[in-house]
Symmetry: C2
């Protein structure tokens, strides 16, 4: 750890051990019993007087309680998410009181297979009970109680940590205000399952494993554990990042035929990772924890994801990592979609992050930005929503006002292609509507989350399938119909998920466009069509009349039309009833 970073560090910390008071019958796990329980944890920042600033971080497979700061002067003593957690960082210890604890079954202080079994006075080894992710969360719940904390402002985790965060939110809905679930899944994919299985096979086929009772024998299944870790490491990195880091580079050492090793640097790297891991991790913990991950299955347990999420009261942010192939983005989409179907407050984003599954530990910059935007302001933070509304331009304002006029207060609104989310903020402000946005641009997603809105990062052409029929009162498609691939399908989907639709688009039938094409023989350029033909994002050009024709053809009712001319001739024409000639932009309210 370099000295200049220390000022942004959570500082010198130590892992504390909490001896948890259990009932005399012990702690009942899902598939077994624990007679005593110790939980190792660390805390950072200061607990607010009314205890409303607690963030609990759930660690992943090989993590531990030491999430930030340092234990001593050595580089290796820096916490595993130090770039994320600290003063002024994504999880700001100037604001929040952060807790992280080693999980049940681990080997960093919390009771695990290497702990002493009070019944025998020897390490549990093969007698350690089979554990689940629910057990891990229940154990941490006991820690929180032990620390006399009632509520968590947020529970946050990536990978296995994301599964725990989900489980917290499902199991203890009344305790959790917000949940950030990063690079996780409602259950592991078959491929990830298969890698875990082979990893466990490596350990259990190592003769030194001795059916799990290797403690004190002088032999530990190091080869097997190192092999498992190597497999894991390949799956944590994106193929692109492996190529960038190592490519086919070779080290200088003389070619050795021993053990069929090669000179490729990636071999040295994997060897190093394997050996390093053996020094700090226990093989039985690896077996227990990976099996718990493999067996986590919300659908199997609850019947469906919607049912699993039924209890949730927290606002949830689901973050996928674009290059993660171990917990691919589709699995995060599955979680977010089901929450939406279950009527929960959920946002989803797919973060461009090149490092694969490991990105939540490495590609910190964008991740902390979006997390900062999502985390609740405790104390008297400034209100960013107000600012957002204040920056609306007069030219936008007219269209927004027209849209607002079409919407009844207190209704449910879906804003497709919500852009800078100013309309969502206006809806909240003027109509008391908590709308939800859909947009493909990550900047828009962060803006929306920062302004307190729920948003889905999705392509509108494909992005409504997850929404059940008749979920919204209004679906708004502002200046977007002309850029979608399949406008007809998008209109149909809008009116499937919402009672009414509000569509605005540039009108190619405007008098000046017709005149321009008719006389100059060139494609028109104007207010609502500001691009050259070869640079325009508008892949469908159409007139108000074309739109009306399509509605008629598809049985779509037009409830009202607002024509927005951009010049005096246009205004005159619209007033005379020649709307297709006069309007530069059009706003149409439609219904089934």
């Amino acid at each position: 750890m370099s000295r200049e970073n220390i000022q942004n560090s959570a500082g010198l910390v130590e892992t504390k051990l909490a001896k948890i008071q259990l009932p005399s019958t012990g702690l009942k796990l899902e598939n077994g019993l624990l007679l005593d329980l110790t939980v190792a944890y660390e805390t950072y920042g200061t607990l607010s007087p009314n205890k409303d600033n607690v963030i609990f971080i759930c660690h992943a497979l090989s993590g531990d309680a030491h999430v930030a700061g340092y234990h001593d002067d050595s580089n290796i003593s820096v916490g595993w998410w130090d770039e994320m957690v600290g003063p002024g960082k994504g999880i700001d210890t100037n604001i929040y009181f952060v807790i992280c604890a080693n999980i049940l079954g681990g080997c960093k202080g919390t009771t695990g297979p290497a702990s002493i079994n009070p019944e025998t006075g020897k390490p549990y080894g093969s007698t350690f009970p089979r554990i689940t992710i629910s057990d891990m969360v229940d154990v941490h719940r006991l820690l929180i109680k032990h620390l006399e904390i009632d509520r968590l402002a947020a529970v946050i985790g990536g990978s296995l940590g994301g599964m725990q965060a989900l489980e917290w939110t499902i199991r203890y809905p009344d305790m959790i205000d917000r949940c950030i679930c990063i690079a996780a899944a409602a259950s592991l994919s078959t491929q990830a399952l298969a890698f875990d299985i082979v990893g466990r096979n490596s350990i259990t086929s190592d003769p030194n494993w001795q059916d799990g009772d290797y403690y004190g024998t002088g032999h530990t299944p190091d080869e097997g554990l190192a092999q498992a870790r190597k497999i894991g490491h390949i799956t944590y990195l994106s193929p692109e990042m492996m190529t960038e880091k190592f490519g086919r580079e070779k080290h200088d050492k003389t070619y050795s035929n021993a053990r069929f090793s090669t000179n490729f640097q990636v071999e040295s790297y994997l060897d190093h990772q394997g050996n390093k891991f053996v020094d700090r991790f226990d093989a039985n913990s690896y077996l227990h924890i990976t099996r718990a991950i493999d067996e986590y299955d919300l659908i199997e347990k609850h019947g469906s994801l919607e049912k699993a999420f039924d209890t949730i009261k927290a606002k949830v942010l689901v973050i996928a990592l674009s290059s993660d192939w171990l917990f691919p983005p589709e699995q995060s989409v599955e979680i977010a979609n089901a929450m939406l179907r279950a009527g929960k407050q959920v946002s989803y984003c797919n973060l461009q992050a090149p490092h694969g599954h490991d990105a939540f530990l490495v590609d910190i910059k964008n991740l902390s930005e979006i997390m900062k935007a999502f985390l609740p302001w405790v104390g008297d933070g400034n209100n960013s929503r107000q600012q957002s509304i204040q920056t609306i331009k007069p030219s936008e304002k007219k269209e927004y006002d027209n849209i607002l006029d079409m919407i009844n207060p207190g209704t449910k609104v879906l804003d497709l292609g919500c852009g800078n989310s100013k309309l969502l903020s206006l809806l909240a402000d003027k109509k008391n509507i908590e709308g939800i946005g859909v947009d493909i641009d990550i900047c828009h997603v962060i803006e929306a989350i920062d302004s307190g809105h729920d948003i889905f990062q999705a392509d509108i052409d494909a992005g409504m399938a997850m929404i059940p029929d008749d979920t919204y009162d209004y679906a708004i498609l502002g200046e977007t119909l002309q850029v979608v691939r399949n406008p007809r399908l998008v209109l149909r989907e809008m009116l499937r998920v919402a009672r009414e639709g509000i569509v605005s688009f540039p009108n190619f039938g405007k008098w000046s466009h017709r005149l321009h094409l008719g006389i100059t023989g060139r494609m028109p350029i104007g207010n609502s069509l500001p691009f050259e033909w070869y640079e325009t994002p508008n892949i469908h050009l159409f007139t108000l009349r074309d739109f009306v024709d399509l509605c008629r053809q598809d049985g779509i009712k037009i409830l009202s039309t607002v024509c927005m001319p951009s010049c005096n001739i246009g205004k005159l024409l619209v007033n005379m009833g020649f709307r297709n000639l006069g309007a530069d932009r059009v706003l149409v309210k439609i219904a089934r």
Copy 2:
């Protein structure tokens, strides 16, 4: 093997052993020496009198000489590519004389680590020399010579087999007419390398491996080999196919805590694959062959791919498999692009195949169709090119004639968006031009290959980067400019790779379009614009004048313009000089 399939089978075959005559000094390998050499091989079909119908198939890591037919009545005795090789199949044994041989270092009859070392009278074991893919090919070259065959009509292989096929084509250019290289790479990706390394580690860390000298000890590194095979199996399947085959299904057996096994069917499957492999494969062969794959690197060996391919005389077909993540399509693209840059006759296609890397063994239907199209007709096959020309419609003919008029005979032509490749056939027929096509549609790719043309399956918006500057005399873009995302970039690229460009497009400036929009206020529909606005593939609409403006702006010279009116008024207008008003479609010849 079901009885009804037997009629399409290559029938009862047996593996023959060829004892190869070596010079008294033995066979010099790239990194060692072999004192004697046996090659196991099989043949199917009949050698033609002038020996011009020989196809050599190169097998992959776990394959062997037994590619087709059966050894006995048991199901397991069916060849590994039986669906591809046989009477009337993709590699038709009614036409071709097919040879397949076990590779050097293997364990199915050809000399390998388990063979007897003539110097010691014992199995080679740890003394077997380090081998390369070039060595494998050289050994098979000796077999072909032994069989008194001089030329191969084609060499074909997938995965490691594809690497061998490439190596054959590079090393023995005068022997090879055609090469089909499927799901291969000029060198392994870092990720694939890493998986191989971990697989080898599994074997060498198995105490029974005994540094490779386990033969006759009563102990073989079965656990390690099974582990390596399990890792391999995961990488051979696409994640989608793993999910489809196994999902998170569980078998009925009571939950067993032993060895931390789970009830997931994918675990039983992997166990089964591991155990089956141990019965039929030798661990030392696995080590030697995978290391040879890992160390194969055409760039390292030759300096660049262009240099590596410099010697090639064969016509090459490079096939990628869409869902292959072990040898991803980009690696096939890299091969094909380099061949193109080296001025070789090469076609590339990316086959939609769901099964991952294994698809070349499983997704046979499309693969055999494209291979059939590519393989040379030996004997008096029908000429499909003639048929293709005969089916040209009169409406197309006019445009083709106009294009042909713009092109000098014997020049080099690139046809972007070549569609049904009729123009390529006309160019060959009327102008003696062997053009090359680019198209995204696999049907068009197969059509082109079947008509004897070279073609690249690529998206034109992204598809010209691999072509060096000034490679062609003409680049043709027929009725495609309006559907590309970035027309300006495409025009620039055309004139980078070709001296002149020929572009045809629908003219939005035509009188009837202007009149239609001007009077009805609806988007025009007509001959060259046959789609409704919401269904059109034309994402850019523009007029002849717009095109001329862009050319002027970008410094593009217009050499000639042919206007194609579709009605009498149009003809009249064009004749009067009002080309933008009269032309329905336009053909423009451009230059830098």
